[in-house]
């Protein structure tokens, strides 16, 4: 302890914390930190700083970075601290470097050595600290430096070390799978570690491995299921219990793994049914953690091969979620509904009103989740309502990321389920109007393609209709101000291709509109390019049709403007237009064939039309063109660079000496090389070639290719139009399928009760409908189909289903139950049994009869004397002690602030109300009962923590000060 008191921290540090704690604005905080940086810069490089002081400086650096300022001037000192022998200092140093550096930082090289040394330390705390850093700062290149030691540590006698070594290996696998591929079997070995902590940690890498390659781990299904069973039966040490649930976090991880393994695998899934249904039954649905496990069970059930019994209990759980007042549970309800809907589409209908409530909830999170659900259940009968709602919502939000997402969803749905051309075009217009700049360029190309290709059927009139309605709606929209660039590009392209196609609009009307667009968006070169290309098309169509073309005055001035444009691309297009105007009908047809945007265009990359020119140049003594990758022997610097291209491109330092320059071939130096190569090097934009030649018959194909490459990159774009998705006939077939499974895997109890529950639900929802507003009913009807009618049908159907289930289940109950039980028993003695003989293995029976105080175990310290738990009298008797303590030390504390301290817990009772969850509140309700006692006891060492309070008061931080919140107990 330093001379300053309680924390071993200096007055300076306390002052810093105090001022940061009391800063009222970000600006004030920044001022404090900048001042701190100045001081640290001066102090930290002074010679002979005591280690303790240095540690404090390092933590102050951590503060500087945490508050958003650069502390790189002090990194090296943190690195130095990692060399210290004292474990506390070393770990602080390690912590600081993991917070400051990334794995590619130059300073890492200075730490690797220390890590290697520490991994061999006798002190397991040092080894653990080093393994923590390994997980954060070892990159692909440095893995080999520590890998052998990490592998060795997998068998370390301390479980904490084994656990961290597993995670280090996991990290290596994340960084560079190939470097540890041969070591992956170690994870399976550690799964059977006799320490539950190691086993629990090993689930993380195994989860990743199974995600990547399910099939290699199918043999572990029984192992995972039996571990889960043991966990659920409270075979793990009590310290893993959380709010009366046995190791819930491990259960959740295991359920996630089982979900992966059972997905689409009937055999594997059958091994899980029993344990999953057991867990679901045991879940305490009044606590958050119980619901978390329940949620994971539902996720698992919806992922594995369907089992009607489990689906039924999942559906029950979902309806509980949806009926809850807690938004968190509603959210989970919507989420799980979305998962289950694929397996049993009829389930959504029971909850239609709850879904609509969530959709209209002001809570954005809930709303979005509901849109996700709607997205999943869209079909052609409800696409209009859903997409309409989605677009309305899209318009209302500002978050660009989500706007983009929802826009692309709208587009996807519209393409898939559009009931009519007109609706499709209108929908796309709305999406583009409001989110045109956000949607992926692909979406725009896709739209153009759909307009060009139509439905993909043979119905030509439908295609023409689609195009005409697109043209018409675009002509209406195009005058609106501030349209997104992408949208304008689509408009220009469509007007150019199809504007005059049906003869409704004249070749003077459309160009006028196009020129207006170009003028209104004169800063957008891409739009102008699209506009001029559209003009080219319209005029050449006119010429091809044998009509005389008169350029409108505004077109004339637009073309003139582009002829002088800085953009060579625009210039090129303008010249092309001019050239085309002078051509005859035949030439125009071959340049710009009508409606040919869907034709394939062949590109001859060898540019054969240039052969003559090349030959001529060669005859004149020009040097032949050398492709870039062969240009190695040239003399100038650039050739050197191309030789070192690889190194140069990675911007890495070279450590080897440069090679001697190679002798130069004299014949290779030729003045013409540069000129000719600059002419002949293939340029990305094809329009440049055309520049060199007259506009001839060869031009159109080139320029057309160019524009097509720019606009219509359709390769790899999936065709969505008209593709059928789930049909409404699905339920009946899936029911038939599930019957069989029911017989195979009986779930003895709950059949009757759940069928009666189904009754309740349908009854409930019918009753609810009486109170709901007609608009909601209407919305429900449009989303889910007919409401009350289908509801009735629903309930009777489910009744029928469950009735037919009963005999089957009962019949097989006895026989199957016996076998399945023995099966489980037979499987347990394999690898996992280690879990059974854990040292602490608590008797599972005792778990049920917990003494009420022990239920609060999480809040009371185990080290405490039992006497303190038992009575508040003890606490009360300590009260005078506190008073005297405060009286002694708190010089500047007024009486009222003492009272403040004592009552701090109580007047902050509202702290807990931060949680909307009733379950949570229940939990805490329990805590508050004990709180008065706790308040006075103050954790493991009452006296010390009171001294702590007194001390900070002395430093000037008081609960009554500028930020009284600093003193509030987080747990209330």
């Amino acid at each position: 302890m330093g001379s300053q008191g309680g924390f071993g921290q200096s007055k300076e540090f306390l002052d810093l914390i105090k001022s940061i704690g009391e800063a009222r604005s970000k600006a004030e905080e920044d001022r404090i930190v900048l001042h701190e940086i100045e001081m640290l810069k001066r102090r930290i490089s002074e010679p002979d700083i005591p280690k303790r002081k240095m540690k404090e400086y390092i933590i102050r650096l951590v503060y500087v970075e945490m508050l958003g300022h650069d502390a790189s001037f002090g990194y090296i000192h943190a690195v130095k601290m990692t060399h210290d022998d004292n474990i506390h200092l070393k770990r602080t140093g390690y912590l600081a470097v993991t917070l400051f550096l990334n794995e590619d930082h130059d300073l890492i090289i200075l730490i690797v050595n220390t890590i290697q040394k520490d991994l061999k330390s006798d002190n397991y705390l040092v080894v653990c600290a080093a393994l923590n850093v390994v997980c954060k700062l070892i990159n692909e290149e440095t893995i080999p430096a520590v890998l052998p030691q990490v592998v060795e540590l997998l068998g370390h006698q301390k479980e904490a070390v084994r656990k961290k070594a597993v995670m280090a290996l996991h990290r290596f696998y994340q960084r560079s799978p190939s470097s540890v591929n041969h070591l992956i079997s170690n994870f399976q070995k550690r799964l059977c570690d006799n320490d539950p902590g190691v086993m629990g940690a090993t689930l993380c890498p195994l989860f990743d491995l199974i995600t990547i390659d399910v099939n290699s781990y199918k043999d572990l299904v029984a192992t995972f299921a039996s571990i889960l069973k043991q966990v659920a039966e409270r075979r793990l040490p009590k310290s893993y219990d959380y709010h009366q649930m046995p190791a819930p976090f491990i259960q959740i991880k295991l359920l996630k793994i089982l979900a992966l393994l059972g997905s689409g695998d009937k055999k594997a899934s059958e091994q899980m049914y029993t344990i999953v249904s057991d867990i679901m039954r045991k879940c305490d649905s009044t606590s958050n953690i119980g619901n978390a496990v329940l949620y994971e069970c539902i996720c698992c059930i919806s992922s594995i091969h369907p089992n009607p019994k489990l689906l039924e209990s999942a559906a029950d759980a979902i309806s509980k979620f949806l009926k809850s007042d807690s938004h968190n549970l509603k959210y989970l309800g919507i989420d799980t509904l979305g998962r289950l809907i694929k397996l049993s589409p009829e389930i959504a209908e029971q909850h239609q009103l709850a879904v609509i409530d969530c959709l209209e909830d002001p809570d954005d999170t809930l709303k979005r989740k509901t849109f996700e659900l709607l997205f999943k259940m869209t079909k052609s009968s409800n696409v209009e309502v859903i997409v309409d709602r989605m677009i309305d919502y899209m318009i209302s939000i500002n978050d660009n990321h989500y706007k983009t997402e929802i826009a692309s969803r709208c587009v996807e749905l519209a393409e898939q389920f559009a009931p009519s051309n007109q609706w499709f075009i209108q929908t796309m217009n709305r999406v583009f109007e409001h989110a045109g700049d956000l949607v992926n360029a692909k979406v725009a190309h896709n739209l153009m393609r759909i307009i060009a290709e139509g439905f993909g059927g043979d119905d030509d009139t439908a295609d023409t209709q689609l195009r005409s309605s697109a043209v018409e709606s675009y002509l209406r929209i195009v005058g609106e101000p501030k349209l997104p660039s992408t949208f304008l590009q689509v408009i220009c392209w469509v007007l150019g291709e199809y504007g005059t196609a049906d003869g409704k609009y004249s070749a003077s009307y459309i160009p006028g509109k196009l020129c207006d667009v170009a003028e209104a968006y004169s800063t957008d070169d891409t739009v102008k390019a699209y506009a001029i290309s559209a003009l080219v098309k319209i005029y050449s169509f006119e010429i091809a049709a044998g009509r005389k073309v008169d350029l409108l005055p505004e077109c004339q001035s637009f073309v003139e403007e582009l002829l002088a444009s800085h953009s060579t691309d625009l210039q090129q297009r303008a010249y092309e237009l001019q050239a085309i105007l002078g051509l005859d009908a035949h030439a125009a047809t071959s340049i710009m064939p009508m409606d040919a945007s869907c034709e394939d265009i062949e590109i001859d990359k060898s540019l054969p039309f240039l052969n003559g020119y090349v030959q001529q140049s060669l005859e004149k003594g020009a040097h032949p063109y050398i492709p870039e990758n062969e240009r190695s022997g040239m003399i100038d610097v650039s050739s050197f660079r191309s030789q070192e291209q690889h190194e140069a491109s990675t911007h890495a330092l070279r450590f080897e000496a440069y090679e001697l320059p190679q002798p130069v071939m004299p014949s290779r130096i030729s003045p013409i090389v540069q000129a000719s190569s600059s002419e002949l090097v293939p340029v990305p934009e094809p329009s440049y070639h055309a520049e060199m030649h007259q506009v001839a018959a060869s031009l159109p194909s080139v320029s057309d290719t160019g524009s097509l490459e720019l606009k219509l990159k359709l390769d790899g774009v999936q065709r969505k139009w008209g593709k059928p998705t789930y049909s409404s006939a699905a339920p009946s077939t899936s029911n038939a399928g599930t019957h069989k499974i029911q017989n195979g895997a009986p779930q003895p109890d709950g059949v009757i009760s759940s069928s009666s529950r189904a009754h309740d639900i349908s009854y409930d929802s019918r009753r609810q409908q009486i109170e709901i507003s007609p608009e909601k009913q209407k919305l429900a009807a449009s989303l889910f189909g007919a409401t009350s009618k289908s509801d009735k049908r629903q309930s009777s159907a489910s009744q029928k289903v469950s009735k037919t289930h009963i005999p089957a289940a009962e019949k097989s109950h006895l026989a199957m139950n016996a076998t399945s039980d023995t099966a489980v028993i037979e499987k347990t003695p394999q690898p996992p049994p280690d879990l059974l003989d854990l040292g602490e293995a608590t008797v599972s029976g005792s778990a049920q009869s917990v003494d009420p105080f022990k239920q609060l175990e999480g809040l009371l310290d185990l080290n405490q004397d039992t006497s303190t738990i038992n009575s508040s009298i003890v606490g009360a008797s300590r009260a005078p002690d506190i008073m005297s303590l405060l009286g002694e030390t708190a010089l500047n504390v007024q009486g009222d602030s003492v009272a403040n301290l004592l009552s701090a817990g109580r007047d902050d009772a509202n702290l807990l109300s931060g949680f909307s969850n009733t379950p949570v509140r229940n939990d805490h309700g329990g805590c508050t009962l004990v709180n008065p006692t706790q308040q006075l006891i103050k954790g493991p060492n009452a006296k010390e923590s009171l001294e702590k309070d007194a001390l900070v008061r002395q430093m000037g931080v008081t609960p009554a000060g500028q930020n009284p919140n600093l003193f509030r107990d987080l747990l209330g």
Partner: protein, 143 residues
């Protein structure tokens, strides 16, 4: 990787602890913190404790004046993360005794150590309070 970051931020939006499990530059961290803190602090108590942000979710929970924000991947179990936060607070409470914001500020490194024991590579690896605190208590004894 499940957990992307753990943040503790007070009501005024000042960061009290920040741990990232993927590397972000100082500027990125600053921008991210400002953005999500603004988002979460604006929400009412009745609303969900989950917020979607870009391509991940933020699970947050308020204790007195301190907000705990955890950024996770989309497939993570929200409620479990919410309880992970509570477990963290309970663990700190066991160690510090009636933990308050000031405890975390004065013992920033210890709060980090606890987090280091609980989360590695963005995965929740230890949930037993005694296992989490054992190395920290040993270390305290040693120095």
């Amino acid at each position: 990787m499940g957990i992307r970051f753990v943040l503790m931020v007070n009501k005024q939006g000042q960061t009290r602890l920040a741990q990232y499990y993927e590397y972000l530059t100082l500027e990125e961290r600053r921008a991210l913190e400002a953005e999500i803190v603004r988002k979460c602090l604006a929400r009412t108590d009745q609303q969900c404790s989950f917020v979607e942000h870009r391509n991940y979710k933020i699970i947050y929970r308020r204790y007195a004046s301190l907000f705990f924000l955890v950024g996770v991947d989309v497939e993570e179990n929200e409620l479990a993360i919410l309880e992970f936060i509570h477990l963290l607070v309970e663990t700190m409470d066991r160690h510090f005794g009636n933990v308050c914001e000031l405890d975390i500020m004065f013992h920033l490194e210890k709060a980090h150590f606890m987090l280091e024991e609980m989360v590695m590579n963005g995965c929740l690896i230890e949930t037993s309070k005694s296992n989490i605190l054992a190395p920290i208590q040993l270390m305290e004894k040693a120095s």
